[in-house]
């Protein structure tokens, strides 16, 4: 019995797998059900964003930005148009920035709802997923009423917005907030504090803060490890410095600091903070013309700009180089999901396959964002 040798098995998780949140392929080396190594393979959703951007005019790139992280389209656009405006050195009316922040925060809630809901699905709870989608539907209705689209908006343009807020938007947004606060409570009762859910996620996939920083993690993944870093507050852009809200970080309430439960819970708490921002923005929404500052022709002077923003998944940045023509010389997108995904092998070794699902879900990647 001394030499009972077990062999490791290589298991392909994805690209066709229910819980890899898209077309991620993870090559798992498993010993029984214990994960020895996990190597993510990406590129199945590569759409040449950066190459496309070289042959498009500045305005035409906005719809491509939409498609990077398709769950956070508004946030993608927001960062990009801020960059172009910085290159052009134009000042947009305050109303535009307010509306952009409202949209970006609604998008953040919608994105977190997908993330939280599918995370429940990964753990085996089907019902919270549909509750989350019910609420997300209302946000999409708001977007549809504003710009006609429900997923990919092309709403924010360099210098302004495609449409002003339609009549009735503010009331409908307030009605949503009124509905959504109790809905978060319901979600917490049904899923977040469910005994089995906590058992499955607490103390699993523990990510210490130093490793998170070393890997360049950002967003809820970083904050789940207790690092108070949110670009909306630490390096305020747009009009985020005018609102009163808090950065939420993981507390290690249910297990170890930086476990899956913390990363999950940060997203739930962030939704409440987003509601606070939206409420204040709706209250103080200034008047103005959202089309006033839109330039007829976007032709920035020679130069380069790097803009950072906080997307639902973390630090989303664009590096835009202008050669003085109507098309950018280069646009580089720094995607949060890409850096966050690189953590995967680090935090999944030694856990079970079932935990692997919990870990992938908690890191919260969008494959569109990883591959671009």
């Amino acid at each position: 019995m001394a030499e009972l040798r077990t062999e490791e098995m290589v298991l392909n998780m994805g690209p066709q797998h229910p819980s890899t949140h898209g077309v991620l392929r993870v090559e798992l080396v498993v010993d029984g059900e214990v994960v020895v190594d996990a190597i993510p393979h990406i590129g199945y959703l590569h759409r040449c964003f950066e190459k496309h951007a070289e042959v498009m005019s500045y305005q035409q790139i906005v719809p491509y930005c939409d498609r990077m992280d398709y769950l956070g389209s508004m946030n993608n656009d927001h960062a990009y148009v801020l960059g172009v405006e910085k290159l052009l050195n134009i000042q947009v009316p305050e109303r535009v920035e307010y509306i952009r922040v409202i949209m970006a925060e609604f998008q953040r809630i919608a994105s977190h709802l997908v993330s939280v809901g599918t995370y429940g699905l990964d753990i085996g709870a089907f019902t919270p997923f549909l509750f989350c989608f019910r609420d997300r539907e209302m946000i999409l209705d708001l977007f549809e009423m504003t710009c006609g689209a429900r997923l990919l908006y092309n709403y924010m343009w360099p210098g302004g917005l495609s449409h002003d807020l339609p009549p009735g938007f503010v009331e409908k947004a307030r009605a949503f907030i009124k509905h959504f606060r109790p809905a978060i409570k319901e979600l917490n009762e049904l899923l977040s504090y469910n005994e089995i859910f906590v058992k499955r996620t607490a103390n699993v996939g523990v990510l210490p803060a130093d490793i998170a920083i070393n890997y360049g993690a950002s967003g809820p993944t970083l904050r789940g490890s207790g690092v108070k870093w949110d670009l909306r507050k630490c390096e305020p852009y747009s009009v985020y410095d005018k609102f009163n809200w808090d950065i939420v970080v993981g507390t290690g309430e249910m297990g170890t600091l930086g476990d899956c439960w913390d990363r999950y819970m940060v997203k739930v708490w962030e939704m409440e903070q987003s509601l606070r921002i939206i409420e204040q923005a709706l209250d103080t929404l200034p008047e103005g013309d959202v089309h006033a500052a839109i330039p007829k022709r976007v032709r920035p002077p020679v130069g380069e700009v790097y803009v950072r923003s906080e997307s639902p998944r973390g630090e989303l940045a664009y590096y835009i180089v202008s050669d003085g023509s109507q098309k950018p010389y280069r646009v580089k997108g720094r995607a949060p999901s890409f850096s966050n995904l690189s953590l995967l092998p680090e935090i999944s070794r030694g856990y079970l396959i079932a935990d692997m699902i919990a870990i992938i879900g908690s890191v919260d990647i969008t494959l569109g964002d990883v591959d671009r």
Partner: protein, 341 residues
């Protein structure tokens, strides 16, 4: 008169044939009804309406349409599969679920086979399902299926023990392994049911049995072998068409088996809750099936509420919580029976 069919037709070939076909006739519509119920109940729990169009009235024909679709599907056998085992596995799973119906006393006048080891027989035959699942997982030659099968084996050794110990406690009280005798021992008003007997020990026993039975039917929160989000579809990943439908059917058949056993052991089986009111052979069928359906509803309810356990957590639950409790219960019930009868 334990079986009116053999009473009239004799215990020979025809009597046995007809009396063994009756459960089969029951299972197919039951599975369809249960699938429809599951669709509708889950929908209403999730703020949806569920199927509404098929068959006009609340989508009642949806399961029929599903089955029709599955029959038409191509029957795919993977090239690398172990063909004989692959074909045999769904049949074995179904047989395991179906054979258990033979010993379920549907009414005082109908039980497929009135053997005096009834409950023992059901426990034994239900374990056949697991062999079928193991065969399916192994023969598919798919790593996910294999993992699902491995998990099933781990799950089997975990839940069978608390479940059997729970059954044993009831058997000690009833003094018989025959399910008809166990039912008869609970006759009268509903407070005679074993779930209220030797309070609270048999009530705890019921909870233990019910949790273990969820694991037996591979239902959430213990749907570990087929965990969709982890193992794609577990042991039946490679199956298609009617072979897949057999697994599906067996799952629902099994749900009712464990529910019926729980109804017989703890809720008086075919006894009316109100003494002699509405009792008798025909009402017996009604009572057993409705008691079973209430428990099936609870299974569905739990499935759409709870997340899934991890396989090691199931084993922890079974070995370190359910088994000790079941043992303590047996001791307490045994002491009670010896001291006070």
């Amino acid at each position: 008169m334990h079986n009116f069919i053999t009473y009239y037709l004799g215990a020979g070939f025809w009597g046995s044939l007809v009396s063994s076909i009756i459960p089969l006739v029951f299972i197919l519509p039951f599975a369809l009804v249960a699938i429809w119920l599951e669709l509708k109940i889950s929908a209403h729990m999730q703020d949806r309406v569920g199927p509404m169009r098929t068959g006009r009235w609340h989508g009642w024909a949806q399961p029929l349409a599903d089955v029709t679709k599955l029959i038409q599907k191509e029957d795919i056998i993977p090239a690398a599969a172990d063909k004989a085992l692959y074909i045999l596995a769904p049949a074995l799973v179904f047989v395991g679920a179906y054979a258990a119906y033979a010993a379920i006393p549907f009414s005082p006048a109908y039980i497929g086979s009135d053997i005096n080891l009834g409950i023992f027989y059901i426990v034994a035959v239900s374990a056949l399902v697991v062999i079928g699942i193991l065969m399916a997982g192994w023969s598919s030659n798919n790593k996910w299926s294999l993992l699902g099968a491995m998990r099933t084996a781990a799950q089997l050794v975990s839940y069978e023990i608390p479940s059997s110990l729970a059954i044993l406690a009831v058997v000690m009280v009833a003094g018989s392994l025959n399910l008809n005798d166990i039912c008869a021992a609970q006759s009268g008003w509903f407070w005679n049911w074993f779930v209220f007997g030797k309070f609270p020990f048999l009530f705890i026993t019921f909870i233990i049995y019910f949790i273990a039975s969820l694991a037996e039917t591979n239902r959430s929160p213990f749907d570990i072998p087929e965990a969709e989000s982890e193992l794609v579809a577990g042991y039946h990943t490679e199956y298609s068409g009617m072979r897949f439908a057999f697994f599906y059917l067996a799952e629902y058949a099994n749900m009712f088996v464990v529910a019926a056993v729980a109804a017989v052991l703890f809720f008086g089986g075919w006894n009316s809750p109100f003494g002699t009111f509405l009792s008798g052979p025909v009402w017996g069928v009604f009572w057993l099936i409705s008691k079973g359906m209430v428990l099936v509803f609870i299974q569905i309810w739990l499935r759409w509420t709870l997340p899934r356990f991890r396989v090691d957590q199931l084993m922890y639950l079974s070995w370190k919580i359910l088994t000790p409790f079941a043992l303590v219960n047996i001791f307490a019930v045994g002491l009670w029976v010896v001291l006070r009868g």
